[in-house]
């Protein structure tokens, strides 16, 4: 465009504010689009509308109190946030977590991944106009919420993990219900695929939309399914195993072209892999305590560490610095995957149409609670 001959007509770009109140910006994201007709020339992503200062808050809370603050970040996958935080503190304190707790944590995290992907698939499909898929997905997510409700009594913000282990053992018969859920989810996956995977309109709307190559994706800091969609087989669960992932078998699906359709396929396959992990974990669920040897007062020695886990959105990292004297972290930092992935939006949407912008926001799968913290 820059060195193209000047067009015969003077055209002006139209600046349009998409959000913060917009049906498909998944919360309070604001994207300032500069449009040439319907084509996006440039965009600026404005965030911070949901900024609650969770990092600052956490520096004035006990280590145990922070668990429930982490719930409020990625609120569609709260248990994953709990897991990442607890493991980071455990790493800082050198705590050993019992195997049974590790397994249950893994199950919870994978259920959460499925729930998060359900929300993602539903909203993503709805942004592209397939409203039915949304309701189907919410139906299955409801089952997961029921499972969580039975496990810890909460449906959205679970506060479901503790430093050093778990607050609760699984209730009797819960594992059977989880297995039943896995069966249902597997069946319903076929429904989603029938509605979307080979649908011509879906293919046209997602293929070659927002293509990003593997090296570009790494450079811009994409992680999780968007990165794997670009063909980079990076999964923290495999590369830096945590919880019980090193004892369980699963594949890391990768895409080929790095477009929206590949990201869709990768996440669909992750549904299946998550189900596979849950089944293995249930089969191999060891007996034993659910809490390790945790001091009454959680006060890690002075030092810093960074620990990352694979959240449904990507690499969820926690950086905690302890001064060794206080029961609150001196510095509490979250590396929010949504935040880092959202950064790529500008690069992805350039040259695409307005309709693709919503498809791409959906394809990145952002949760604004996590972006803004």
């Amino acid at each position: 465009m820059a060195n193209a001959p000047r067009p015969m007509f003077d055209t002006e770009t139209l600046v349009i504010n998409m959000g913060p109140q917009h049906p498909s910006t998944h919360g309070v994201l604001r994207v300032v689009l500069r449009l040439d007709g319907e084509r996006v020339v440039d965009c600026d992503v404005v965030i911070g509308y949901l900024h609650r200062g969770i990092e600052k808050l956490s520096e004035n809370r006990d280590y145990t109190q922070i668990v429930l603050l982490t719930d409020r970040m990625d609120y569609v996958a709260a248990a994953t946030n709990n897991l990442g935080y607890c493991e980071t503190v455990e790493k800082l304190m050198g705590l050993e977590v019992p195997r049974r707790a590790k397994y249950i944590r893994t199950i919870l995290a994978e259920l959460q991944r499925i729930a998060s992907h359900n929300v993602w698939l539903g909203t993503h499909a709805m942004d592209i106009g397939a409203v039915t898929v949304f309701l189907y997905n919410i139906r299955e997510r409801e089952l997961i919420l029921d499972l969580f409700e039975e496990y810890c009594g909460a449906r959205l913000t679970y506060n479901s993990m503790r430093v050093g282990g778990l607050p609760l053992d699984i209730p009797a018969g819960w594992d059977r219900k989880v297995r039943e859920f896995c069966r249902i989810q597997e069946e319903k996956l076929v429904d989603y695929e029938l509605l979307l995977t080979h649908n011509r309109i879906w293919l046209e709307r997602t293929r070659n939309v927002g293509v990003i190559s593997g090296p570009d994706a790494i450079a811009i800091g994409l992680s999780g399914p968007p990165l794997r969609g670009s063909g980079v087989a990076r999964d923290v669960r495999k590369d830096e195993p945590y919880a019980a992932y090193d004892e369980l078998e699963f594949d890391v699906p990768v895409g080929a072209t790095g477009d929206t359709y590949d990201r869709y396929l990768v996440r669909l396959e992750e549904f299946r892999q998550s189900i596979r992990i849950i089944r293995q974990a249930l089969d191999g669920l060891p007996e034993g305590p659910i809490v390790g040897k945790v001091p009454r007062l959680i006060k890690p020695p002075a030092g810093e560490t960074y620990h990352a886990i694979e959240s449904p959105k990507g690499e969820l990292g926690y950086f905690i610095a302890s001064d060794g004297k206080s029961t609150s972290p001196y510095r509490f930092r979250v590396r929010p995957p949504s935040f880092c992935n959202l950064q790529a939006l500008r690069q992805l949407v350039r040259g695409h149409l307005v309709a693709d912008v919503v498809a791409l926001i959906g394809s990145i799968d952002v949760v604004l609670g996590e972006v803004d913290r």
Partner: protein, 170 residues
């Protein structure tokens, strides 16, 4: 009597809207008056028992071409003063010349039609029997074949020209 009344009242509306088209300050309003104008012209055709023409008038002019006018008018930034035609005297002279030409043409047409009898075929076109679709089609492809083809050629040229103008890179 009734027909004469209908004709003159419609004609008054047509003229009124035509005046509004050129006097309206807002270009979009101007285009809207043009649509109303075309609709009344269509009504006039109905009064003349030329339903086909009336419907085509609505379909092509009111429903098609003016929509494109509106499209363009909405997209063009109208707040900017026109630069190319800033010289008012030049505009005035050009306008006078065009008006004079138009007047001469109208006088010529009137004079010609006053001296000539209405062709039989044209009379058939307005006759209601058998639907005037066939009659119009018949006339177009026999007596007026050459003008018809020339007109379509002209439109084709215009279309290609428009595409070339609008396309940024060929």
């Amino acid at each position: 009597m009734v027909e004469a009344f209908a004709f003159y009242s419609l004609a008054a509306f047509i003229l009124g809207f035509a005046v509004l088209v050129i006097t309206a300050r807002n270009t979009v309003h101007s285009v809207l008056f043009l649509v109303a104008n075309f609709l009344f012209v269509a009504a006039l055709y109905v009064v003349l028992h030329a339903e086909f023409l009336a419907v085509i008038q609505v379909l092509v002019y009111a429903g098609g071409i003016v929509v494109l006018y509106l499209f363009v008018v909405m997209l063009v930034n109208l707040k900017r003063p026109p630069e190319a035609h800033a010289d008012p005297r030049r505009r005035g002279r050009l306008g006078l010349a065009v008006a004079g030409l138009l007047l001469a043409q109208l006088v010529a047409v009137l004079g010609y039609s006053a001296t000539q009898a209405v062709p039989a075929a044209a009379a058939a076109a307005t006759a209601p029997a058998g639907g005037n679709v066939e009659a119009v089609g018949w006339l177009l492809y026999t007596d007026y074949l050459v003008p018809f083809e020339v007109a379509s050629m002209l439109l084709l040229v215009a279309m290609i020209g428009a595409i070339i103008l609008a396309k940024r890179e060929l």
